[in-house]
């Protein structure tokens, strides 16, 4: 509990503004000394006689947070001033009571937190102040930082920062139904984005709420940090996830990733978000058992927040610009994190996807890939890397269609047990990629239209030569998953390269 936690007395002279944000009510305090107290604080009760003494000798105003009659015995003019609304405590940024501060010309030039007799005497110049009182007592938490009160105070004083249109929910409307009725959801309930929740979400970033993060297709709307925060609230994110969501939105809205085309295509794909770096562990993401499945809040809500931004801010909705024939469940949310280097005993032979793209192992990044569904690859018998690679290649050759080459990217997510087969035999990631490229070559004639009784295939001329299944850079290799299971995942992509979507890796900011 913040409100009753003892806080060590400290001296913290401040020179910052104490008049609160622009447009906030004036403090209405005279220059001189100001003490902030509450009756429900044993230190404040102890210090009350010293406040009365002090008020006799210097200009002092006492603000009281809980009991307008406390402290008793002050001379006329010293208060106590009723601050049960906590307005002044909030604007003065009081974290602990008692706090004694000095203001000169409206600017604070001294602040003492808690009771430290020597410090109070020094600062006020009253040499015998608090004679008979203990030398030192820590203070208690200010009511203005009580978690039960901060939401309301933040809305009152900072709600004006938010520029989004306010939508009133009618008295007889259910708040969750209201979001469905307005077309704001992906088909699942969303957390109502109240001012308090959005302000709390914005605490997760140092960025200005009004900064434009990206221009979001298909409506090409300039999307601010605030709008991302609104949708992150709806998705169920915690504030600490917000920087990841912001980076994902930035990456999705690049020309290379081509979110517009990805949305408009009749193909299955949607953005898959893979997080790398220490932030994944910090915010509690899951790379282990069921990494791509349900059950982890960060994995689930970050991917969902990106989709809600595209839906709500960009206007991309199924049946509108989203023309998917079938879609895939990853379009609700598809976000996970790679096995961290510390768990992998990662050496230079097996860098993460982000490190392969020039980032450091300690950089926080998101990588976006235009992904369709997860397809299982089972091989429980191969103990040699060549054997395992051959099986994997058989699956990879069938991405989209066994007779199509160079048209679709793919991602492989190697489980720990499969990874062990490669690494145990000394195969680096580069060697596996090279071998998979060889093993997925489609021989001359294999892709001819009509061959094997299948009309689909490559256009005349292309089919006569050996074709790589994937373009350069079109096969991504990741690692994730629980410790048991000789299974890996193959995830097909969408139209590859500059004609469609290219995987994009972006650094996560603060």
């Amino acid at each position: 509990m913040v409100s009753d936690a003892p806080t060590a007395p400290t001296t913290a002279p401040t020179t910052g503004p104490t008049t609160g944000p622009a447009g906030a009510p004036p403090l209405g305090l005279p220059d001189g000394w100001v003490a902030v107290v509450k009756r429900d604080c044993p230190t404040c009760v102890t210090v009350a006689p010293a406040l009365a003494e002090l008020a006799e000798q210097v200009a002092l105003t006492v603000l009281t947070q809980d009991d307008p009659g406390f402290p008793e015995g002050l001379p006329p003019g010293a208060g106590p001033v009723d601050d049960t609304s906590l307005d002044r405590s909030w604007l003065l940024d009081i974290e602990t009571v008692p706090t004694l501060l000095h203001r000169d010309g409206g600017t604070e030039d001294e602040r003492l937190v808690g009771w430290d007799r020597a410090e109070w005497r020094r600062a006020t110049g009253v040499a015998d102040l608090g004679e008979g009182l203990p030398e030192y007592r820590p203070g208690c938490g200010s009511l203005s930082v009580d978690p039960a009160r901060t939401d309301e105070l933040r809305v009152r004083f900072e709600g004006g920062r938010l520029r989004s249109r306010r939508v009133d929910i009618a008295a007889l409307e259910d708040e969750f139904e209201a979001a469905f009725d307005r077309g704001w959801t992906d088909g699942l309930p969303v957390v109502p984005p109240t001012e308090a929740r959005v302000l709390r979400m914005l605490e997760g970033t140092t960025r200005d709420p009004h900064e434009v993060v990206a221009v979001v297709p298909p409506d090409l709307v300039e999307c601010t940090v605030e709008k991302v925060a609104v949708n992150a609230v709806m998705a169920g994110c915690r504030p600490e996830y917000l920087p990841v969501v912001l980076a994902a939105v930035e990456a999705a809205c690049t020309d290379e990733f081509n979110m517009h085309g990805l949305l408009a295509t009749t193909w299955f794909s949607g953005p898959m978000v893979v997080v790398n770096g220490p932030i994944a562990r910090r915010i509690g993401m899951n790379w282990g058992m069921n990494a791509m499945g349900q059950g982890n809040r960060a994995n689930a809500t970050i991917g969902r927040a990106l989709q809600l931004v595209v839906r709500n801010v960009g206007g991309g909705r199924p049946g509108g610009v989203d023309r998917a024939t079938l879609g895939n469940p990853g379009k609700y949310t598809f976000c996970w994190t790679e096995t961290p280097p510390s768990e992998l005993d990662e050496g230079p032979d097996w860098p993460s996807q982000a490190v392969e793209h020039g980032f450091g192992p300690d950089d926080d990044t998101v990588t976006l890939f235009a992904a369709d569904g997860v397809r299982g690859f089972a091989d429980q018998l191969s103990r040699e890397p060549e054997s395992l690679a051959r099986g994997l290649a058989e699956i990879l050759r069938t991405i989209a269609h066994p007779k199509l080459a160079l048209a679709f990217d793919a991602a492989v997510v190697l489980s720990p047990e499969h990874l062990r087969v490669f690494r145990g035999a000394g195969w680096s990631k580069a060697r596996l990629r090279e071998r998979l490229a060889e093993l997925t070559l489609l021989p001359p004639g294999a892709t001819t239209r009509g061959a094997h009784g299948i009309a689909e295939g490559m256009p005349d001329g292309f089919d006569a030569v050996e074709l790589p299944k994937f373009r350069d850079g079109g096969l991504l290799l990741f690692t994730a998953g629980g410790g048991a299971g000789l299974f890996s995942a193959v995830i097909g992509g969408w139209a590859s390269g500059s004609m469609g979507s290219q995987p994009v890796t972006r650094r996560i900011g603060s």
């Binding site: 939401d151 938010l162 989004s164 249109r165 306010r166 939508v167 009133d168 929910i169 008295a171 708040e175 209201a178 979001a179 704001w184 109502p192 984005p193 109240t194 001012e195 308090a196 959005v198 979001v216 409506d219 709307v221 999307c223 709008k227 609104v230 949708n231 709806m234 081509n258 517009h260 085309g261 408009a264 295509t265 809600l308 709500n312 801010v313 960009g314 206007g315 139209a495 500059s498 004609m499 469609g500 979507s501």
Partner: protein, 97 residues
Amino acid sequence: MTGDGVARVVLDPTGELSPQAVELSERPASLDGLTVGLLDITKARGDVFLDQLDLRLRERGLETRRYAKPTFTKPAPVDLRQEIAEQCHVVIEALAD
């Protein structure tokens, strides 16, 4: 939030594009004397369809001009749109598969 914990005011999560009706360009009563742009979005066999249209339009004595998007997965570049607007009175875009 009200006392019962129900949210009564929420923030609009959308792009807040003011609702505005987009008016379609005026349609010509006849194609006589007009230049017709034929835009291939580069999807498979769109060219086959446009070749046929081209033939039929020329048979009617109309002038046609052919254009193609660099890729069907992205909106037409601004330059291409402006080129078509400058050179043609009407445009037919072929979506095929």
